[in-house]
Symmetry: C2
Subunit: 338 residues, 2 copies
């Protein structure tokens, strides 16, 4: 069986563009003992891909030129030489930007037991985005009812989930997003108490001070850079900051400069902690189950943006940085190609 | 009774110097119900004083022009209108740079129950320096045997205590200190595994990499600035950084710039936490008791530098920043003046 795949052609400097990839077709290898064959239904497009492709040190092994692009995907087992997996099982994991994947069971991050939801959700609100939001907020930030929580990229796949969860926990939730459309989405769909449009605020720092009169108790940071600088000036005593992403910084080689905030951390006895959701993989079922309950109760909303066909994948990453996309960005693979 | 005191004459820009203070003499107020009268035996000189005096936001209320200089001191109760205190009790607290203090009991931070030690230790290794090191290391950093711990201002009153405790816990301990004398003190007296002299290392970052081949698991930061920047580039996964002081930065108004390290925190799932020892006041007796045991066992060494007479106080703060002093800096008040 021939398998269509997206190959890394050239290492990007900065944001990965279509020209850094190429589509090819290659015969699928035979299954070795213990392996499974998956037909991918949806491929994920994630900000983490830039880091995976960069020369600079990142988490996860670096991707080499000529490799299939590393990606999360969700699909169905169609053949198995592993007694733990049977055809028809739904799984999410690091299956790559390709139509089919022959993988070892270690590549599977989540087995999907609840078939009430569209499979695509296992790449978003019931997948990495959801568990990133869940463990980052619950474990790293541990917000208490009545506290003020600020979320950057408030309309994004992770941010919108964080904001809604903080509301469910009884916090005052202030989102930071770019542009009037995202601002409206945050208010109408995700129920933020206040949303600051960083592209149109003349003085973001003053706007944060107004929106957070008691200071910022929790900051869930998806951007780093000037947005974070403005938030950190308004943290309260005992504040907790989760560093989840650095979307505003286009290159970390060399490390860019910014205001030092050690003194602020000291005076405010504040904590900054970097985390990645892959460290919580053993606890994913707990997070996914709780997120699923909130969705069924109508308390947790999500947005998806779905592109059709593997041909769309190479140009998709840059959409995350252009501010164009709203909601979790996915590639659907038509069943006829399976 | 007349009381000699050091008054704040002018708000310093940067490091406080003798010219910012003046010595005066004023009658002691009568004791109100609930108050106690203390004869100070030793006055403390601390890096925190710069922050207390600065215009910029700090912890603790700002000191105003004309106030007695805020300071930790240790002394003896000589009169009491509070049933919890009796003449002869030894106490440490915020009693100010003055010979006598009339205070409310809330100013007392520690009651000294063990009279086996010189009273001066209650301002150093058995006082704020000791409990800062103890809770900062044990609570904020939680090092495990076999981990690598890096300490900046390694020969200082807090740093030397941190380094020795980390050795007692079974860690590999690397100190950073300025100048050959401090380096020698760290090795001979405090038992560091390795000590880097940041004033003479051509490439501090490379030296840290060599001294910490498995990366830095714990960094106890007393300096901020370029020393911290170099350490943070070599943290290991799961590293914990305690921000205890910012001695290398002479002004925080405006916040100076430095390399952003959010990405490093993310990739290394590291934690940076600011703390101040005053938040642990309820647990001081626990810390002081353990530190006292280690001193009696000969496992915890300390240095003191004692200046004679209250006249020395105004010029003393700047000694902390000139690199001149070794060990806890104190002012002794002669008994004849009591």
């Amino acid at each position: 069986m021939m398998n269509r795949r997206v190959i890394v052609k050239e290492r990007p400097q900065g944001i990965p563009l279509a020209e850094h990839f190429e589509l090819d077709s290659a015969p699928l290898p035979a299954l070795a003992e213990g392996q499974i064959l998956i037909r991918n239904h949806y491929l994920s497009v994630d900000p983490a891909m830039r880091g995976w492709l960069a020369d600079a040190q990142s988490y996860g092994a670096r991707i080499e030129i000529g490799d299939v692009m590393r990606a999360f995907a969700v699909g169905e087992v169609i053949d198995s030489r592993n007694h733990a997996f049977a055809p028809g099982d739904r799984v999410m994991g690091l299956f790559g930007w390709q139509e089919h994947a022959v993988v070892d069971p270690g590549s599977v991050l989540l087995r999907i037991s609840d078939h009430d939801f569209p499979m695509s959700l296992s790449l978003g609100v019931l997948g990495l985005n959801g568990v990133t939001a869940y463990f980052g907020l619950m474990d790293v930030c541990a917000p208490k009812a009545g506290e003020t929580v600020v979320v950057s990229t408030a309309a994004g796949a992770v941010g919108s989930c964080v904001g809604q969860m903080a509301r469910i926990l009884g916090c005052r939730v202030v989102g930071i997003a770019g542009g009037p459309e995202k601002r409206r989405l945050c208010i109408d769909e995700f129920g933020y108490d206040e949303v600051l449009d960083y592209k149109h605020e003349a003085d973001l720092e003053a706007a944060i001070a107004r929106a957070c009169p008691n200071g910022v108790d929790v900051y869930f940071d998806n951007t780093a850079g000037p947005i974070s600088d403005a938030v950190i000036r308004h943290i309260s005593v005992g504040a907790r900051i989760a560093v989840c992403g650095t979307a505003s910084i286009s290159s970390w080689d060399p490390w860019p400069s910014g205001p030092r905030y050690e003194r602020q951390l000291l005076v405010k006895r504040a904590t900054v902690r970097g985390f990645i959701a892959l460290d919580y993989v053993d606890r994913y079922p707990e997070g996914v189950a709780q997120l699923g309950r909130w969705i069924k109760e109508g308390r947790l909303h999500y947005r998806e943006e779905i592109l059709e066909g593997i041909e769309q994948a190479p140009a998709a990453i840059s959409r995350l940085y252009s501010g164009e996309n709203q909601g979790k960005l996915l590639i659907r693979l038509p069943a006829s190609k399976g």
